[in-house]
Assembly symmetry: C2
Homo-oligomer: 202 residues x 2
């Protein structure tokens, strides 16, 4: 920490360096940038950080974020297919799937099963998903397991699918394969194997 | 901007994405991190941003940063050699030179001459440096030009050295050469040329 800098400047550098992916040099650079930024723009950033938690809640149905303390806009929206639940690992995955034009609802697990990181099923919103399905018999027709096609995401999908066996609900898994615009020659053998395994009638 | 997120969350993502080197994906990631961070730590960051400008001033002698509105701790420090002025491009360069154990004072130009970026001598604190030297005849013994050894830094050093000609002051330039621990075989020919040009009796 360069101690020739004023205390408030050092303080902000320290606070920014606590953020993930922001090292001390980046923190210095950002702080010096903010020093040259007009006062009102700096105030906007400060206010945005301060107000972040005030009006952000977890949706008690899908565990995504919500403006209101009870449930989110997607879970309240009657024009969406409330019988199809897309299960994702992270909140930002909801945004990725929204871009595809998907019109069902979501369930955010807040992670994937990863024993190496000490994350078991109890750390995730899996119990909440099962309760959501069992509490609404006949009101859930399909569960799309959209966890990442990684070891952890696959294990989580398999675990959830087993728990969902007793219920009368169609459980599906998103396809793994070659990305659109991709090239067979540059695709790793595991992805290519998944693409062949998941082939369809043409 | 994913519009499924609460307004305050979107707001912070937008504000963070305005910072240099922070793209929309990084802004999303940082915001989601802050959502999981305890309230008081988020408050520390918000306060640090808000207070940044309150107690940060430019030193009216060296144009580095100062806790007080008049002049900085280094310029006030009588134990330092106030007759030797090290001229640097940026505020953070002061920190780099402080680490070497340098005991003189500084002058921060706030950039280097770069016509392609529209930065001429008038945009920099060059006039202030000349005034500082001319206002203190006999009180400045050496000016160390420590601008970067780049085209812009070199041009700025040459420009300043010409302006300092009329004054009875020793003008020096930091050495360009092979970094300590470096390897001749991996050094570009311009740096190696500078190292040979700057050779000393051994």
């Amino acid at each position: 920490m360069p101690n020739f800098l004023p205390k408030q400047v050092q303080n902000l550098i320290e606070e920014l360096a606590k953020l993930p992916g922001i090292g001390p040099k980046t923190a210095e650079r950002l702080t010096l940038h903010l020093l040259k930024t007009p006062e009102n723009e700096v105030r906007h950033l400060s206010d945005a950080v301060r107000k972040l938690k005030e009006a952000s809640h977890f949706c008690l149905i899908c565990w995504s974020l919500s403006d209101t303390p009870d449930c989110c806009a997607i879970c309240r929206d009657d024009s969406r297919d409330q019988k199809t639940i897309c299960v994702v690992e992270q909140i930002l995955d909801v945004g990725s799937i929204e871009k595809t034009g998907y019109k069902g609802v979501y369930h955010v697990l807040h992670g994937a099963i990863s024993p190496i990181d000490g994350i078991g099923p109890d750390e995730l919103k899996i119990k909440e998903l099962i309760e959501r399905v069992s509490a609404n018999p006949g009101n859930v027709s399909e569960i799309i397991l959209a966890t990442n096609p990684s070891h952890e995401g696959d294990a989580t999908a398999i675990y959830i699918s087993k728990l969902l066996k007793p219920f009368d609900v169609n459980v599906t898994r998103i396809a793994a394969g070659i990305p659109v615009g991709g090239n067979l020659n540059y695709t790793d053998e595991i992805t290519l194997g998944k693409a062949i395994e998941g082939r369809k009638n043409f």
